[in-house]
């Protein structure tokens, strides 16, 4: 503790080195180095902590996008033999025999389902073949299987003779693969090894586009709603402004789930808005507003609006009112005066707010998950789906990496235009 507090925060100013003797200069340099070391020593504990708690997990995720050990661990023997296969026709009996043995072993420890799931990702329909064959192999005697397993396997299902099946197994068995990234970008590799646009369903590029489009709509909504309010607050008497600021800050500090709950209560079929609309006979039937893209956008706009208002307000507060008065007293009409004088002055706050809202909404998970239904889902929700439901962790990691690249690019833009260390709270 003692070394952390000796000199750290309060450094003396740079001394004028011309006035110092050689010894003094050396002493000063040593002192400077000591200051540097102390300052650094104060930061080290947190750096170590962040490295373990945050950086290493993100690194693991990046690694996971390439690393795919599951199948390689399940059927190492078969994959080893399969290396000799030329990719044409059915692999020879050594491969088939060892596959039969592997399947029996896996069936006995209830892992054949996992293998089936993994192979099925490369070849839809393979799951049932693997599972049913594994069940059949389980009943066969070990020595018989080692000698004659291949034939039994072919008898169990004729698809085991199909090269496409073995190609899928070989692909699933690669410990390091770019397959997840290709899938995440809607690409695939042909049997010849060339990369092409996936012939089957293309969903992920579309999903990224949709996420970006929704984030853009939310940002624009926040801008349209936030700008006039921030202007009004910045130009109101400070007592009124401080009071009305509570309306902005209370939602800001209210739990995210509370605000999402509020929108569910408002928008559901028998909710407040629908009872209001039907009660006033504006609509005869309740509208389906919840679980749509509309509800996601409106709830997220509500949640992110303070992030737009606060930077705009603080910038507008600093703009001298006499600018606009001068422009208008010189005969400028209000709209040109606003566009040419006021708006350019608010650009720093506007870009800060807009980038912040955009960055946050691109990676949003909770609100789309709760009010988005099927068509309000964003990229984060699909990552969560692959993490929790389809157990395709490699693909989840690849999609996450692409999202991370997107966010870091935006953050870099934010840092260049706004300055990351200018983030202020409260």
């Amino acid at each position: 503790m003692s070394n952390t507090t000796t000199t750290g925060p309060m450094d003396t100013d740079d001394r004028d080195s011309d006035l110092l003797t050689k010894d003094e200069a050396r002493l000063a340099r040593r002192e400077l180095r000591r200051h540097k070391m102390t300052a650094f020593a104060l930061v080290v504990p947190l750096l170590l902590f962040i490295f373990f708690a945050f950086v290493a997990p993100i690194g693991t995720m990046l690694h996971r996008g390439f690393y795919n050990p599951v199948v390689a661990e399940l059927i190492p023997q078969t994959l080893e033999h399969l290396k000799a296969w030329d990719g044409m026709g059915t692999p020879d009996t050594t491969v088939l025999n060892s596959m039969a043995v592997d399947l029996k072993r896996l069936a006995a420890v209830r892992k054949s389902g996992k293998l089936a799931e993994e192979i099925n990702r490369n070849k839809p329909g393979a799951s049932s073949i693997v599972k049913s064959s594994a069940r059949k192999m389980r009943r066969v005697d070990d020595t018989e299987l080692a000698k004659n397993g291949g034939a039994l396997l072919l008898a169990a299902h004729k698809k085991w003779a199909d090269p496409a099946m073995w190609y899928a197994i070989q692909k699933a068995g690669q410990t390091y693969t770019d397959g997840h990234y290709l899938t995440a970008l809607d690409l695939e590799r042909t049997t010849a090894g060339e990369i092409q646009i996936r012939e089957a369903t293309q969903i992920y590029i579309q999903l990224y586009t949709k996420t970006l489009r929704m984030a853009l709509v939310i940002t624009l909504m926040c801008l349209v709603l936030g700008y006039p309010l921030a202007y009004y607050l910045a130009n109101a008497p400070s007592k009124t402004a401080n009071l009305l600021m509570i309306f902005v800050l209370l939602p800001f500090w209210t739990s995210l789930l509370v605000r999402t709950t509020a929108w569910i209560a408002l928008l559901q079929t028998n909710g407040v808005v629908n009872s209001f609309l039907t009660g006033l006979h504006i609509t005869s039937e309740p509208l389906d507003m919840l679980y749509t893209e509309f509800s996601t956008i409106i709830a997220m706009t509500h949640i992110l609006l303070p992030f737009m208002i606060l930077p705009l307000y603080s910038v507008m507060k600093g703009i001298d009112k006499s600018y606009m008065r001068a422009a208008m007293s010189m005969g400028a009409r209000p709209i040109p005066a606003f566009l040419q004088v006021y708006l350019p002055n608010t650009l720093p706050g506007l870009s800060a707010g807009a980038l912040l809202v955009f960055i946050i909404s691109v990676g949003y998970y909770i609100t789309p998950a709760l009010v988005g239904g099927t068509d309000g889902q964003m990229i984060s929700n699909i990552i969560a789906f692959h993490m929790q439901q389809s157990n395709n962790w490699g693909l989840a990691a690849a999609l996450g990496t692409l999202l991370l690249i997107l966010i870091l690019t935006l953050y870099w833009v934010y840092d260049r235009f706004v300055g990351a260390s200018n983030i202020k709270l409260g």
């Binding site: 309060m10 200051h35 650094f40 750096l47 997990p57 559901q268 509500h302 993490m387 840092d415 409260g426």
Partner: protein, 286 residues
Amino acid sequence: MTQSFPAYYTIWHKLGAYSLKFSAWAVLFFLILPILVIIPLSFNAEPFFTFTKGMLLFEPSAYSMRWYDAIITNPNWVLAIKNSFIIGFFATILSTSLGTLAAVGLSSQRMPFKRLIMALLLSPMIVPLIIIAAGMFFFYTKFGLAGTYTGLIIAHAALGVPFVIITVTATLSGFDRSLYFAGLSMGASPLKTFFDVVVPLIRPGVISGAMFAFVTSFDEVVLVLFLAGPGQRTIPRQMFSGLREQINPTILAVATLLILVSIAFLVTLELLRRRSERLRGLEDHG
């Protein structure tokens, strides 16, 4: 309300001013109404998420405390409340102590790689939670931290760090260094000077950083979804599954309580801000 306008204002100017006022108030209502609507709904006597006829006619029988009773009598909610406080408390201690120390180091002009380290320490605030959650799930499982209190505390502390760094560095940037040297020149040891002079002056920043860290943990659900076992369910986690599986007004009662918590939070922050301004004011004049 009458408003005074400059003499050169035309009718269009005035119309513009009124429509600005109208749209500003409309947005204010958009911000606050969804939150205010929850409060009366949580006293609903019926298991609905909307106002019943009786509620609109202010019949006392249409209102009840049953959903508040439901919180206290449900062991899942009680456990969730307990967990939220335990995890929030320890995560706050961890992020505030490490964060304050680092902020003191970072505010030194001699700090090497300042910009890079700052960007790294602020990044948990920028990276989407789903990415952090997926990464932590992979990494923490290796160390047996998934499904434990320790794992969640570490995870939430990492999220709280940027807030502590921001608030404490902000307070330190307004810190008058001559006060520290004054302490030293009067013969106090550096350690004593630090605790008797520096700490009281940056305390408002440390406390508000700690509050941000606590609220971050208290409100966090994505990491809990991925890392917590059934024993570590927190309030937001319980609300999440409630909203997904069986919606009932207990959630509205919990939400109302959480709104009260955020009001208390807002008031405390405002008091801290005033106190810190007063301290700085003294510094300027003295």
